[in-house]
Amino acid sequence: MNGNRTRLFDVAVIGAGMAGMATSLFAARRDLSCVQVGNGGGILFASGLLDLLGVHPVADRRRWDCPFEALSSLRRDLPDHPLARVGDDALRAAFEAFVSELGAVGLPYAPLDGANHPVLTSIGTVKTTYAVPRSMMAGVEMMRSRPSCLLVDFRGLREFSARQVVAKIGADWPGLHSVRVEFPGFEAVSELYAAHLARAIESAATRDSVAERVRPLLGDATAVGFPAVLGLSRSGEVHERLQQSLGLPVFEIPTMPTSVPGLRLKDAMEAALAAWRVVRHVQAKVTKVSFDDDVATLSLDDVPGGQTIRARSVVLATGRFTGGGLSAGRGHVSERVLDLPVHQPGTRGEWHRRDFLDPAGHPVNRAGLATDGDFRPLSADGRPAWHRLFATGSILAHQDWMREKCGSGLAIGTAWTAVEAISRGLQAPRKAG
């Protein structure tokens, strides 16, 4: 980390959420030297399920079995939507690349088949998503066929109650049963944390002991569901070994953020970036960026006296309000690092619709940075603010990822397209104007 002050990077990524991670990863894969600043708390990675596009139009809450069909509808209705500017091929390639990187660092996903999948959640609802971790995939099949199935939970783990799930969905799934067991080694502990169980179960002894305790309770089950605590960095192995010792398909049910699958995804991203030699400044924030003709200089709040990073291109992936990319002042939404113009409703009164629970969402949910086709944010005069400044992920305008169920797709897709543009721009001699 010492020599990085004087180094000139090809790409500097601001933000370590899904978009920042995907941008850094894609940049590094293209052999661009990359530095990333920002803190990616596990919560930013939610449940480890990667949505592409689940719902459109928001007002109708229409769900799609095929995300690409949804996309073509989106492109017609909302041409400014960031995802509308990413081609199908680019999205397919981006997701393939993303999950294969995750697989390479020990977080296997089920093969992508171009379709959305229903996943049972810890509150007994069904979520529609695109890429599913392999440890959850058996659950998707069970959801579809609904045979006799056992849900296991652990005493003291408040995040997941198998009985509650059965109560909620049991009417539609009569073969679903619940049991509760003690987690080995934690018998005397009253309050359990999923992350701790996930690490404990990576020990072969603990894993075998869990299998011992569940095996007599199997009955006529054809598959066994667990809360998502089956390992952290070794989840693939734990899942496989558990299937072997129980002799049945095993699947995980994602819990609420911060969930273990979210932590896995975060850890896997960290590992993948390290493998690609991305230089990271975690626990740091960018306070200022200044540009000259060809080089951007980022100032960090990292160490007293300041630290700076120099890069030939910059990607803003600082998220919206929760991520800290945008802030809502009195009657005005502003961008926090560069004070770029933010596309937003005219007045504060217009931010929300009259009905707060309006399924169509609110105008402010679509606030963000307006960009050109390469995801370069525009300055007030409608031209790119700097020729190699880009923005990816939820900071972009004209999307409502939460309602549209397209968070990861937005992050991954825009990252892919922006990196392509960066790569092109760094190779080409700079055009005049």
Partner: protein, 269 residues
Amino acid sequence: MKYAMFVGCTIPARLPAYETSTRAVLARLGVELVDLPFACCGNTVRGLDQDAYVFASARNLALADRAGLDVLTPCKCCFGNLRHALRFLSQDAGLRARIGRALESEGLALPEKVQVHHLLSVLFHEVGVQAIAAAVTAPRTGLKVAAHYGCHALRPSKVTQFDNPLAPTLFETLVRATGATAVDWPRRLDCCGDPLHDANPPLAGRLTQAKLDDARQNGADVLATACPYCQLRFADAQAGRTDPLPTILFPQLLGLAMGLHPGRLGLPG
């Protein structure tokens, strides 16, 4: 490459082999070490009296500063404490003034330029992996090593600036430079348990055991450390075991690979 050697309290008293092997390896790699009249880094008061701790660290740093040298320490806790002290001094003007006065009464001045490095950072960044690999004459081919990072070098990264705190590679890279294989083990970044050794021995024991089990389960032949506390902790926790997982100090591993006589590395033989 010339540094003030900060050996700390624990190494001379309980693990002299660490100092021996560090000096032997660094001498061979052309790193010069200077001894200054250092005292405790302040570890013993860190959690009890902030000013006293910062003063203890600052006094050592002031000595190195006066000598115009950066500090090299093989101890990760000393490393963390010294670096934290610099950080606290630069952040808190009141503290800075108080410590400045106390230093003045000893004829010293607040440290200004001095930097603090851990042995591993010097090996990695200053000596360089290539130079190390070039010095290796007896590669440890086939030896599977679990590298234990140690908390106080790695975290908080803002202060220690040691490596990427979430997915570090520095130690494994150095291990590979010796010709050995670095195993991947999930608990490699975990705490060894030593700081709880006095306050809560059973809990400390479970932390240590979890790490040892994990290293074994992932096929390690040996556990490599670069901190006296960690090394002693792993050794003590396995005292009496018939099949302990051997632990080795990194400069010993490196020294062996460089063909140094075990006796010069504080090893039997």
